[in-house]
Symmetry: C2
Subunit: 190 residues, 2 copies
């Protein structure tokens, strides 16, 4: 009898990681994914997204049992009652989470055992754009996002920096925000 | 004695809304905002952001009492254990939440009373880019995001569509994702 020993590094099953890469190389159609979110307005700046279903690896996912619920809001100065982080803050969270996961997976593939990954993100904007008081001088969105990453592990500093570089190079959200994504909007009035 | 009656529409205090717009017109420096998130890796695809402080309207905010905590994860097919929505899904949530809040505020300013706003978002990507198995044919990020909005209120369909248009036109996150934002990364090895 053969014995299969799962090799987990940084909490990532590297056998499954390599197996996934091989499977997609064999059948590129498995690489097609679609993620989804459904949002409904509650009151004022308070709205809620429910997140569960997605398509990937050739089929609708059937493994995710739980439906996630995330609430958004605004602080008082932006006319809300702090019912959750605001949408701009969620954008920063999405970026931080994606770069972190990408670099953790990259480290696992490169046999680097990490002990700490932390990041602090700052996003600058002038709300005159979004508020419509001065749309000439200001865009609506962030003008710049800065990400400071602290990382520790059992590899030399250069190798840890390579892992971070790979994390940003391969991150879905980093690329989406830095490169931009076309968004189409369809409206139904009820 | 004069009596001040707050006029709340769609859960938005419109007196405060107009007051904020006037204050920024009088002193444009009040429009400068900086939002922040701090993230730390827990294990595998599990990481957590804490969100509280921000700068805006000429000062560090002191009104937000609560620190928000949001957890990210990945489903099994992407080597995680569903510890939260994944980062790409959070990006969709950020977009949905921002457009919703923008259009709700816009409706309040235009004296439209809304009874329902719902949106369904789909984001397409091929993970071959992010996984590195085919970086020639595929980008890492979303290739397209589609947003379907359902809206109801006490205004004709044309007016409701105008409100949605204003919501997307003025949304911080819509503009950030559709137009792209430069991201700088600073790394410290510990």
């Amino acid at each position: 009898m053969s014995q299969v020993v799962a090799i987990t590094r940084n909490g990532v099953n590297t056998e499954q990681l390599y197996g996934t890469l091989d499977a997609i190389k064999d059948d590129p159609s498995l690489g097609i994914f679609q993620f989804r979110a459904h949002n409904h307005w509650i009151d004022g700046a308070h709205n809620r997204s429910t997140i569960k279903s997605f398509y990937g690896a050739g089929q609708e996912d059937s493994t995710r049992i739980q439906e996630f619920t995330v609430d958004a809001g605004e602080p008082a100065i932006l006319l809300g009652t702090d019912t959750g982080p605001n949408p701009a803050e969620y954008l920063l969270h999405a970026l931080a989470a994606c770069v972190t996961t990408s670099l953790v997976y990259s480290a696992a593939a490169r046999k680097v055992n990490l002990t700490m990954v932390e990041s602090t993100l700052e996003g600058d904007l002038n709300v005159e754009g979004a508020m419509g008081t001065n749309t000439v001088d200001f865009r609506n969105g962030f003008t710049e996002i800065r990400m400071s990453i602290r990382i520790a592990g059992d590899a030399p500093a250069d190798k840890l920096r390579e892992v971070v570089q790979r994390g940003t190079d391969r991150s879905v959200v980093f690329d989406s925000i830095s490169g931009g994504v076309p968004i189409s909007v369809d409206v139904t009035t009820v």
